[in-house]
């Protein structure tokens, strides 16, 4: 059994990506990974806080990191935005002593101290590097038999800091799909932006980016997409109809969390995976495996 402190983030706990949280836990259990949720964690502040309220943004992360530090385990999150924001705090506190002094002072007001020792990991990193593809492959009960999957990494899991995968042409999800028996299709836009939170304030602009991603996936024969990010999933799934209306296209591509696809291959029940939360129905392409 491997133990980690777990930071679900707002979307994967009680937000729109609940199914990501469910499937992450179910798949972790199957892989003997124990995710122990951080008590009383707060929102990381995501892009909105880091864009306009720098100091407060670092403090939001620092509170979570300080509480995680007391446990001494790696802090694992399934959310790419939480991942980038928490890691940004770690690296900025080391790089900018003046900033650290201010964050320390603010944290003291809450009776907390952060010493900068917590390693922040993405759940995908834990699965492919701590557990490994062979171990994952050994848990497969229903081989995905050549299911053509477009592995969509998005931005914030692979950039900006050197992490466990290449910032522009990452491979980990591709190899994961292959270890489940699926076929990762070539996907040039695999790490291009889906529009992120600008889907809310600048929808037209984001829909265009999403359409390009679908086009890239479909023209390479993908039957579905998988993603390690709650916001990417929501943008690609919940706004797919909007894209079709706007560009007179006919996309009908299910968008799954990578943990859901792993769960299907592991033979886990739909109850654990929440496949019915997909707005573009996933059953159509997954029927033969369920």
């Amino acid at each position: 059994m491997r133990y980690y402190t777990y930071f679900p983030g707002c979307s994967s706990s009680e937000g729109g990506a609940k199914a990501y949280g469910w499937s992450a836990k179910a798949v972790s259990k199957a892989l003997d990974v124990e995710l122990i949720e951080l008590d009383d964690w707060n929102c990381c502040g995501s892009t909105p806080y880091s864009s306009v309220e720098e100091l407060a943004s670092f403090c939001l992360s620092a509170r979570n990191l300080a509480m995680a530090e007391k446990r001494g385990l790696d802090l694992v999150t399934p959310c790419s935005s939480c991942y980038v924001i928490l890691n940004r705090t770690n690296s900025h506190l080391k790089e900018y002593p003046q900033l650290k002094a201010k964050v320390d002072e603010a944290m003291a007001a809450g009776g907390l101290e952060y010493h900068g020792t917590v390693r922040v990991r993405h759940l995908l990193d834990v699965f492919v590097n701590d557990i490994g593809y062979d171990e994952i492959n050994s848990k497969v009960k229903i081989n995905l038999g050549g299911l053509k999957v477009a592995p969509y990494y998005g931005c914030q899991m692979v950039r900006p800091r050197p992490s466990f995968d290449h910032p522009e042409f990452p491979q980990s999800l591709d190899k994961l799909v292959a270890s489940l028996g699926g076929e990762p299709v070539p996907f040039p836009l695999k790490s291009r932006c889906c529009g992120g939170s600008l889907i809310i304030s600048e929808e037209a602009l984001a829909l265009e980016l999403i359409a390009k991603i679908f086009d890239s996936a479909l023209s390479n024969g993908a039957e579905c997409l998988i993603t390690p990010c709650p916001l990417c999933q929501t943008n690609l799934d919940a706004y797919q109809r909007r894209v079709n209306q706007k560009f007179k296209t006919n996309f009908n591509l299910p968008v799954l969390f990578f943990t859901q696809l792993m769960g299907v291959a592991f033979g886990l029940s739909d109850e654990d995976l929440g496949l019915k939360t997909c707005i573009v129905p996933a059953e159509r392409v997954l029927a033969k495996y369920l």
Binding site: V52, C59, C193, A238, Y239
Partner: protein, 189 residues
């Protein structure tokens, strides 16, 4: 005696924000602009924005929509040959625009960020449904109406929670104490 120009002052303000210091290193190669998925929607491209800031065009820079169209996709950051944290630099300009009260009125992104942050400040977590409804009602109720189909499909698939996740009372107070202290210390610079 060395004469300080308007440009010097603006560059110093930007440089004081973590990540903003990179502005001094830019060689105007345009890699950031070529990499940016939204450069063509910005009043000024990312590299133009840097050149303008270094020329002391503070008003033009801070009132533009450019940094508000930054997606935080970090493609510019990983490609910059000078190692400039370009995305952080965009965030630094957003912070300054807010501080100076000169945020562009032609994009709803500043208002969206503000709504998001207000919820996180008061609850410690983000209730997606409440935040989006609030933002649309505040900025464009007509869009709230147009969002109904998206909201309904999310609701039908069990993905809209009306109830917000709450921290414990101790956690809420602790977070407030930290954030209020941060506020009293001014920005990150």
């Amino acid at each position: 005696m060395e004469k300080r120009t308007r440009a010097d002052t603006f560059i110093e303000e930007i440089s004081a924000i973590p990540g903003g210091e990179g502005i001094r290193l830019c060689i105007q190669c345009g890699t950031c602009t070529a990499s940016c998925p939204n450069a063509d929607r910005m009043d000024h491209t990312p590299s133009q924005l840097i050149a303008m800031a270094r020329a002391g065009m503070k008003e033009e820079v801070l009132s533009s929509n450019a940094m508000w169209h930054c997606l935080s996709c970090y493609l510019c950051t990983v490609r910059c040959p000078r190692g400039i944290k370009q995305t952080d630099l965009m965030h630094a300009l957003e912070c300054l625009a807010v501080r100076e009260g000169s945020s562009s009125g032609r994009t709803l992104t500043p208002a969206m960020y503000r709504s998001f942050n207000d919820f996180v400040y008061s609850l410690g977590s983000l209730p997606e449904f409440g935040f989006m409804t609030w933002f649309y009602m505040l900025t464009n109720p007509l869009r709230a109406f147009r969002m109904i189909p998206v909201a309904l499909s999310l609701l039908r698939h069990g993905r809209l929670s009306i109830k917000a996740r709450r921290l414990t009372p101790e956690g809420t107070n602790q977070l407030k104490a930290i954030l209020d202290k941060a506020e009293s210390l001014g920005g990150a610079s």
